[in-house]
Amino acid sequence: MAQDIALTVNGGRVSVTVDTVTPLLDVLRNRLDLKGSRYGCGLEQCGSCMVLLDGEPIYACSREIGTVAGRSVTTIEGLGTAAQPHPLQQAFLDEQAGQCGYCLSGILMSAKALLDHNPAPTRADIVAALDRHLCRCGAHPRILRAVEKAAAVLREGKGA
């Protein structure tokens, strides 16, 4: 059944009239024109669609929109832009941490949640946080380095 559903996306209030079982990912991509969250499998197996729901990473591909009414969603577009990247995005560019890049927006969201909770993660913490993400190109070592670098940059920024 189509219903009016209100939620917060990247800090702004939005309302959509949509079937409540529609995946959050489809609403983000096709109703709100936020194309940075990507469809990979629709099965919660690859992490390409990862977004933050009230600060926690969730798979947007299978999350029904009806269950997120009134809550706050953050997508890659809420992190930063190509012109003004978030320190995490900047670290990924500095490390050239990616090849095809399809997996990166989801990985960045899990990394964001990790650093929000744990500003000084160990390599093992980062691996654990990213282990539900798949990358087929083999950019893993660069991605891990980029998250470490971003963590250091963010810590310095807070210390200053």
């Binding site: 079937d19 529609t22 995946p23 489809d26 991509r29 096709n30 024109d33 936020l34 194309k35 940075g36 990507r38 469809y39 990979g40 499998c41 629709g42 099965l43 197996q45 690859c46 390409s48 890659i76 577009e77 992190l79 930063g80 832009t81 190509a82 990247p85 995005q89 990924f92 560019l93 050239q96 990616g98 090849q99 095809c100 890049g101 399809y102 997996c103 990166l104 927006s105 960045l108 691996v127 654990a128 990213l130 282990d131 993400h133 798949l134 990358c135 087929r136 190109c137 083999g138 950019a139 893993h140 070592p141 660069r142 991605i143 891990l144």
Partner: protein, 702 residues
């Protein structure tokens, strides 16, 4: 002169097809190679910037466009920099020379007195008042490319050889960046009910039941046994297509038996056979050793399901695709649809990494067939995950038996590789069919299996000849005629299995001879570049202290020169093995001659190591009954963050030597090094990939 020109120039002699000076003081560089996530387009821009003497940020690249970019065939085989890079270098040097020659005539001076600084032309220390943008005219572009201008010496490069950031990454870490994200006017979404196999007929579709079960509006487009759900709401199309197979009945579906999914099944099947190399019969000595190695069917397993957009307006078909080759796709579309090629435009748009021939071209035909039925709308088709796994062409299974006749010192004097494999390249241009074509009312003839010629590196025979100093070598190639599934190009083609086989066998022969595997290799190898890499890697991994076999910890090494003519790579791997293989560290050394972008190169080398490790340890496509049964990431696991090792890669710089394609060169050596490291750890050898827990148990029980 022209016979020495790169193929890319031979088929695109018009200068303006490649280069143009834009009014905004940029340079338009158009190339036929496309960005597949490897940074090749950034590297091509670096080459043009240096030859033209303009800053890199002035080079605007158009890559893959049948309207406006040259035809450079497919983006495959690690050829972008070797072939397209050489072309861009020659074309840029020629344009620079033409402009300077003309200005020199006008100034009545020698062209040698003129120089260019970010596009501004100087005479000695003084500006001439001229630059590319105000001085270049149609006259400079009038003649066909001659290829006579002398490119710069590598000592004069400013951006070639420097680690330049990729141009496409900022978008990919911040928002819309892929073909999947494109929105066109009047766009409709579509999903496909796939014909289970060639020759299958759709006996019935219970449309009423499907419409009752799946809420929302969709239109059904049916052409022969091709059927698509089309409408404005992507969610509805996805649901309808996911449910459709339950409501569809197909006749004439082929059945796959479980034994067909294994490489061993290939041996003895109907095949086209040929003998390459020595035509003498295999030699007999006192010591003849034989061993067999294999890889199963594997998937490209792109992170994104394939996607395409097509629109048919005023009799012209426009297609956007993440294809590896816009011109070959245009030719295939023309053939399938019966439309003249000049009434079709194909433009490249970025997709997820494909690593070869995946569903990219098939989905483009899907979109085009629907667009012809629904003109004036843009049709966007995206495959479902299970469709990508279930219908993309697979990397073929391979079975390789090696035979070495040894001399008294335990070194081969005669070597035979017996290779059984389905085709490694099955594109429409090489005897293959695109999926949807087979579902149309007039399907194409049966696929005609061929493999790339040896001059292109071969397919199943890729890297089958060892580069050691053996007196006689031969390859018996059996091209399997009727494999159970469609197969086509996957990174490295036959190199993964052939290098795995050769380098594992060499370790076995060293052990028989009672020699250290590195010392044994060096005693039968005179190629100086290869020796240097092996010595480099052996030293960095502390090879001499690797310890005895059978301790559960192992170190192994492998090397190859990709296609026996492209880049060299040596890889050493440290593993720990108990129930499963854990990769600890990897050391790599590579020699690709002049490297255009060292950071991009390193990314490719390391990525190849991880992907090859994933295949060697984990990957096998399962199939049974009416098709593929590995349809998601749980049934087709790949290497994860927690399983990826530390990698230490060193590029041996050789800027005075020609650039060698390196995107695939670590693939075979990595699989081989893992095979050898696991054998060292276990004190027993697993010869069939993937090296799974079951195979470890089996070899230890022997």
């Amino acid at each position: 002169m022209s016979d020495t020109l790169p193929l890319s120039i031979q088929t695109n002699r018009r200068l303006e097809k490649w280069l143009r000076f834009n009014s905004d003081r940029t340079v338009r560089l158009a190339v036929g190679k496309v960005e597949l996530g490897q940074g090749n387009v950034t590297a091509l821009a670096q080459i043009a910037a240096d030859e033209l003497d303009v800053n890199l940020d002035r080079i605007a690249v158009l890559a893959g466009d049948t309207q406006d970019a040259p035809d450079e065939g497919q983006t495959t085989g690690s050829q972008s920099i070797e072939v397209s890079g050489r072309s861009v270098r020659l074309v840029s040097a020629e344009l620079r020379a033409r402009v300077l020659d003309r200005l020199a005539q006008r100034l009545n001076c020698s062209p040698l007195e003129l120089s260019v600084e970010d596009g501004v032309i100087r005479r000695g220390d003084a500006s001439t008042g001229h630059d590319y943008w105000n001085f270049a005219t149609a006259e400079d572009f009038a003649r066909d490319i001659e290829g006579t201008a002398t490119p710069k010496s590598h000592t004069d490069y400013r951006v070639v050889g420097k680690p330049v950031p990729r141009r496409d990454l900022p978008a990919k870490v911040s928002g819309a960046a892929f073909i999947h994200d494109m929105v066109r006017p009047d766009m409709l979404h579509a999903r496909i009910l796939r014909q289970p196999c060639r020759g299958a007929n759709l006996a019935s579709l219970n449309e009423a039941a499907l419409r009752r079960a799946e809420r929302g509006d969709f239109r059904i487009v049916r052409v022969g046994d091709f059927l698509a759900f089309v409408g404005s709401d992507e969610t509805v199309m996805q649901r309808a297509a996911a449910a459709a197979p339950l409501h569809a009945k197909w006749d004439n579906v082929r059945q796959i038996t479980p034994d067909q999914q294994d490489a061993a099944w290939l041996v003895g099947q109907d095949s086209n056979d040929r003998v390459l190399g020595s035509d003498l019969p295999a030699a007999e000595t006192k010591n003849v050793v034989v061993a067999s190695y294999s890889r199963p069917y594997v998937a490209h397993a792109s992170m994104a399901p394939s996607c395409a957009l097509a629109e048919y307006r005023d009799g012209h078909l426009s297609v956007w695709s993440h294809t590896q080759g816009v011109y070959p796709l245009r030719a295939a579309l023309a053939n399938v649809l019966g439309i003249a090629p000049d009434m079709i435009t194909v433009r490249h748009a970025h997709g997820a990494g494909c690593y070869g021939h995946n569903g990219a071209d098939d989905v483009a035909v899907d979109a085009a067939v629907i667009a012809i039925q629904i003109p004036e709308n843009c049709i966007r088709v995206q495959w479902r995950r299970e469709e990508e796994f279930g219908f993309e062409p697979l990397g073929p299974a391979m079975h390789v038996t090696l035979r070495a006749a040894l001399d008294d010192a335990g070194k081969p004097v005669d070597w035979t590789a017996d290779v059984w494999s389905p085709t490694h390249v099955q594109r429409p241009s090489t005897g293959g069919n695109l999926l949807t074509h087979e579902a149309l009312p007039t399907p194409p003839p049966d696929p005609r299996p061929t493999d790339p010629p040896e001059s292109n590196g071969g397919g199943g025979t890729r890297n089958a000849f060892p580069l050691y100093d053996f007196a006689a070598t031969r390859v018996l190639h059996h091209l399997i005629l009727r494999p159970p599934v469609r197969t086509s190009a996957l990174r490295g083609l036959g190199a993964l299995t052939n290098v795995f086989a050769i380098e594992c066998f060499i370790d076995e022969l060293a052990e028989r001879a009672g020699l250290d595997p590195v010392a044994y290799r060096l005693s039968i190898l005179s190629d100086a570049r290869a020796r240097r890499l092996i010595e480099n890697v052996a030293e960095r991994c502390n090879w001499s202290a690797r310890g005895p076999a059978g301790t559960g910890r192992g170190v192994g090494l492998g090397w190859a020169r990709y296609k026996n003519k492209a880049a060299y790579a040596a890889v050493a791997v440290e593993v720990e093995v108990d129930q499963e293989v854990r990769l600890r560290r990897v050391w790599c050394a590579a020699d690709a001659g002049l490297v255009i972008n060292p950071d991009g190169a390193r990314n490719q080398l390391d990525g190849g190591i991880i992907q090859a490790a994933s295949m060697a340890l984990k990957e096998q496509m399962r199939m049974e009954g009416d098709g593929i049964t590995s349809l998601d990431w749980e049934s087709y696991p790949i290497l994860r963050f927690s399983e990826v090792p530390e990698i230490d890669t060193e590029i041996i710089h050789a800027p005075d030597l020609p650039t060698l394609g390196m995107g695939e060169c670590t693939f075979g050596p990595t699989a081989a090094a893992i095979g050898n490291a696991v054998a060292h750890a276990l004190g027993a050898r697993i010869k069939d990939m993937p090296l799974t827990r079951e195979r470890i148990e089996a070899v230890l029980l022997k």
